[in-house]
């Protein structure tokens, strides 16, 4: 079952490390993995930017970029060269050190999350017992970078943008964590390797992914909503708000520093997609037992790219929320729902094996959804927007 192709990167790493002197072996092993992560994810960033631009174009009945290279596939290269050669402007009143550190720390922190993601069988950089905790600690640190960027620019609009961004990220951090807690409750482990192992079992050819349980589906949807907001993606892209704010907290950034924020956004998106895939979509496990011959890392990366495509699709579809709608949605709908969902996980866990728990847990999720939506609609918290035009 575990083929050579499946373990090719692991074997390659061992082969290179074996050629090193004994004292250097552990350092070289880690460095190799780090270099691979730093090379692969920016490449995926370039691909997802291209996908996004072409895909959004098609959704708006346009062609999208098609000038650079065949079908415009070299567009990300052109964009990269452009942002590298642009002038780097630092405002006179800015705090130069913090202004420089903000994008750097943001990118660094975003890459740290990959340290614990299992990207394939035996392909985790750090086998940590509290991997999920580490991941969320790193994810929360981006808020610091956002605030550093807004504060050091010495521009009141940047600062306001940073305040909005931080308010949003903190609001959605809570449901992001709470929806993941369900998985931790079900598996009894914070280790992402263990979580994948639990999901990598098959009955009747179907995997035991958490998305295929009633509470898991609800958790996954809530996780997706919170993750979209956490990475400042449309329809929750208020901090950036291209059409009404000029990039919010990174207004005063130009050249490659601006590109670093852009990179951090996309790499963060890829990373949170990877986490979502690991928690709910079985990480590197195959969707059917007969497809297990396909290398595990292919499954992981296709799940990540699929999530990216869905995020692009959502971006092409949904209009941006207003700030109060954003906050209402987080605190009055998503968070209560995640809390109810935790009860659901507990019921699932303690009802034991059998068909009864499927019915009970599905009923809990559906009833919770209906009741909360009814209540929300009545109080106009999450009702569709109503407009009153001037007579």
């Amino acid at each position: 079952m575990v083929s050579t192709l499946d373990q090719i990167f692991v074997l390659l790493k061992h082969w290179i490390v074996a050629h090193m002197p004994a004292a250097l072996q552990s350092v070289v092993g880690v460095l190799l993995s780090v270099v691979c992560i730093i090379a692969v994810f920016p490449a995926l960033f370039a691909i997802s930017v291209l996908l996004e631009r072409k895909g959004l174009g098609r959704m708006q009945n346009r062609l999208g970029p098609n000038r650079v290279g065949p079908f415009g596939i070299l567009q990300p290269v052109a964009d990269g060269i452009k942002s590298l050669t642009k002038e780097d402007i630092v405002p006179v009143g800015a705090d130069r050190v913090v202004h420089f550190l903000a994008p750097v720390s943001m990118v660094a922190v975003v890459f740290m999350g990959y340290a614990v993601l299992p990207m394939g069988r035996n392909m985790t950089l750090v086998h940590m017992d509290a991997a999920l905790l580490f991941y969320f600690a790193m994810g929360a640190s981006t808020e610091l970078s956002v605030f550093m960027a807004g504060w050091s620019s010495r521009n009141k609009y940047s600062l306001l943008g940073a305040m909005r961004a931080v308010a949003q990220m903190i609001s959605y951090e809570v449901p992001l964590l709470l929806s993941s807690v369900g998985v931790v409750m079900a598996t009894g482990s914070l280790s992402l390797d263990k979580i994948v192992e639990v999901q990598n079992q098959y009955s009747f050819g179907l995997p035991h992914w958490f998305i295929f349980t009633p509470w898991g589906l609800a958790s996954f949807v809530l996780f997706a909503i919170a993750a979209t907001a956490e990475t400042n993606r449309s329809p929750f892209d208020l901090p950036e708000g291209e059409s009404e704010l000029v990039a919010g907290y990174f207004t005063e950034y130009s050249g490659f520093k601006f590109a670093e924020f852009f990179l951090a956004e996309y790499v963060g998106m890829l990373s949170v997609s990877g986490l979502g895939a690991t928690l709910f979509l079985g990480g590197w496990s195959a969707p059917f037992s007969f497809l297990q011959f396909i290398p595990s890392w292919i499954w992981f990366f296709s799940k990540v790219m699929l999530s990216i495509c869905v995020l692009i699709w959502l971006r092409g579809t949904l209009p941006r929320l207003r700030q109060d709608q954003l906050m209402n949605f987080a605190w009055k709908f998503v968070i209560p729902f995640t809390l109810l969902n935790l009860v659901d996980v507990a019921v699932w866990r303690f009802m034991g094996e059998g068909w009864a728990r499927w019915i009970v847990c599905s009923a809990i999720v559906v009833i919770a959804y209906v009741v909360m939506v009814r209540a929300g609609m009545r109080r106009k918290n999450i009702a569709p927007r109503t407009y009153r035009y001037a007579e």
Partner: protein
């Protein structure tokens, strides 16, 4: 139910996404440099100078009257009058612009120059791909660059150009008719003067009763005395008398 609208929206964008690969009609944009949408006939960008015939220098309609230069709100036109004269479309000798520059980096495409021009000499062009690597020289068009044939004008603004041609033909006919009547009047006046000169010795003693006739014969005599002038005058008045309000239509 909450979320229903989102699903509907997702279906719509998915339909657009797939549809844009299948049907070309869905695409709202054209690939510009290779494919161009026809410009509307009333489109305009920067002015050009119209010339008749083959030689742009000879056929230039502009007579360097400098009205456009004075009226131009951003002052982007610069004209230098010539020292000599050349015949215009009715054949009358006119001065012409020795220098006619338009700075299109200043021009705001207001079309006022076209509206004030009494000679139909300046019109709006539709050319818009004027970018250049020379910021000053490249955007300052001289009269050679500005000169475009009447056929070109017909090409870009067919309706307007036909109207202008009709108006010019009418003016030309009027001028010719005027010249003809003038020359006829001149000939007649000359004949009258000759007849009068012949009759004068015999008629002069008649005194008070001859006043009406003498007054009547006096006018043609005056006209005959001024004969070189009326030929020059009629050429200009018809143009000022036909106001150019049609230019803006």
């Amino acid at each position: 139910m909450l979320g229903e609208g989102i699903l509907k929206g997702l279906a719509e964008t998915a339909r657009n996404f797939a549809g844009s690969f299948v049907s070309k009609e869905r695409l709202t944009t054209v690939e510009y440099p290779e494919e161009r949408l026809p410009l509307p006939e009333a489109s305009r960008n920067f002015p050009f100078l119209v010339y008749d015939g083959q030689d742009w220098e000879k056929g230039l309609r502009c007579v360097a009257c400098q009205i456009c230069e004075k009226e131009c709100p951003p002052k982007c036109i610069y004209i230098e009058k010539s020292k000599d004269k050349k015949p215009d479309f009715v054949g009358k000798p006119q001065i012409y612009p020795a220098k006619f520059d338009i700075d299109i980096s200043v021009c705001m495409s207001c079309q006022i120059c076209v509206e004030v021009c009494p000679f139909e000499a300046i019109k709006m062009n539709t050319e818009f791909e004027l970018s250049t690597d020379d910021r000053f020289g490249g955007l300052l068009l001289d009269r050679k660059e500005l000169a475009k044939s009447n056929e070109y004008y017909h090409q870009i603004h067919p309706t307007e150009a036909t109207e202008v041609d009709a108006r010019l033909a009418e003016e030309k006919a009027k001028a010719e008719a005027k010249a003809r009547t003038d020359s006829a009047a001149k000939a007649k006046a000359a004949a009258d003067a000759a007849a009068k000169a012949a009759a004068a010795p015999s008629k002069s003693p008649e005194g008070g009763t001859g006043t009406p006739t003498s007054a009547a014969t006096k006018l043609p005599a005056q006209a005959a005395a001024k004969s070189p002038e009326p030929a020059a005058k009629p050429a200009e008045p018809p143009k000022t008398s036909t106001p150019k309000t049609e230019g803006g239509d």
